[in-house]
């Protein structure tokens, strides 16, 4: 259980990190919190030539308010998200989701950007980024671009990020005051990846659902946005929602699979139940 040999570099600027990634021509991996990458290296499932450690780049850390939203540096530790005062106000749903990531000891090192960029389909933060409408800022020596979280995930652990691109920020848009975020996760033990999970944000104005974002995790090869359910809810009166009907629509967009943890059928059944219950509970608050 020792990693295969590699060159280790720890640049202190974003430019230096991008130059290293460009030079490596796809043979490099970025090391953020390491809570996923280090096991992959130890098991030799990953054998990069170069590991680019971004933990010494201060410009990649911290939470700041920007015009219309909140910018999170990718190397912000998950436990720092949980205690952040800006996020407690602006993105309580993200804070709740982060409380379910791994264990206290892994959140002390694990980062927001690492989790979002890795794209584990049963992880909380990629789904939170999709549901809350985040965009991912990626930089390479070729330039900077922004990718909607919605368009980031292509398959299990496969993202639209190019091998020479570094995530330099995650932007979460503001949601209206009074937005309600629902978070539900079913796992065998605390800290495990979800068997089934969902996160949904609902903004109600004048008695109607003005804005909604819902994403599943553990329900397919990527985090999955519940588009049909979102469309059915958008603009509807918040009172008297057909929670069961909407839950059935939400599950219709998923593509769960059988594995040794649970069957696809189990995931669909439980997903529908937790969604309809959560929506019924939330409608009291709308």
């Amino acid at each position: 259980m020792k990693p295969a040999p590699f060159d280790y570099v720890a640049p202190t600027t974003i430019d230096a990190a991008c130059a290293l990634l460009a030079e490596a021509g796809g043979g490099a991996l970025v090391l953020a919190g390491g809570q996923t990458l280090m096991p992959l290296l130890a098991l030799r499932m990953s054998q990069p030539f170069i590991v680019v450690d971004i933990n010494r780049i201060d410009a990649l850390k911290g939470v700041t308010r920007v015009e219309g939203g909140t910018r999170i540096g990718p190397v912000t530790r998950q436990n720092d998200i949980i205690t952040d005062t800006i996020l407690a106000e602006a993105l309580p749903g993200l804070v709740t989701a982060t409380q379910h990531v791994g264990h206290h000891q892994t959140r002390d090192r694990g980062t927001v950007g690492g989790s979002i960029a890795f794209g584990e389909p049963a992880a909380e933060l990629p789904a939170a980024a999709v549901a809350l409408g985040a965009t991912i800022e990626a930089r390479s020596i070729r330039g900077t671009r922004r990718i909607a979280a919605d368009a980031l995930y292509l398959g299990p652990y496969a993202t639209a990020l190019e091998p020479d691109e570094l995530v330099t920020a995650i932007h979460f848009p503001d949601w209206p005051a009074g937005t309600i975020t629902l978070f539900r996760e079913v796992a065998r033990r605390p800290g495990d990846f979800a068997l089934v999970g969902l996160i949904g944000a609902f903004a109600v104005t004048g008695g109607r659902i003005a804005r909604v974002g819902i994403a599943w995790f553990g329900m397919g090869p990527t985090p999955i946005r519940a588009r049909q359910a979102e469309a059915a809810l958008r603009g509807q009166p918040a009172a008297g929602l057909d929670a069961r009907g909407v839950a059935a629509l939400a599950v219709a967009d998923t593509a769960p699979f059988d594995d040794h943890h649970a069957t696809a059928e189990y995931r669909r059944t439980v997903g529908e139940r937790i969604f309809s219950r959560a929506l019924a509970e939330a409608s009291v608050l709308f």
Partner: protein, 161 residues
Amino acid sequence: MSEHHIAVTINGRLHQATVEGRQVLGDFLRVTAGLTGLHLGCEHGVCGACTIIVDGKAVRACLMLAAQADGTSITTVEGLAAPDGTLHPVQQALRDAHGLQCGFCTPGIVMTLAALMQAPAPATEETLLAAMSGHICRCTGYQGIRRAIRALTARPPGEPA
């Protein structure tokens, strides 16, 4: 394969060494620094046996590279008890409550609890128990560990709830 000169403060003493880029921090601490109180179980982040304190935070030593520890301050289980041998309150509580049997998982559990007891946020029974999800103990059935946590977070008599 790259090599790196590192300087790390371990249990209050500065250690300098040259390490391979791929060397894991847990191996460095056990093999090079000789701190075999640190236990490596799974070596891939699942069991929690290797938990140590790095710059005040409880982290898994198998999920960091030695090169990443350059400039940090580390505490292992060897650094907890007082020089005269008086146990750290966490160690004493686990001992009193029979919170260990074979002791393989214990150094990790001790370090998590010690980190949380010294953190700025107050350690409650709830937060300490929740952090135990990060440890696997094959012997105790966890009840002795729970009792130790209850003893650690019990309010002294007379203090308001």
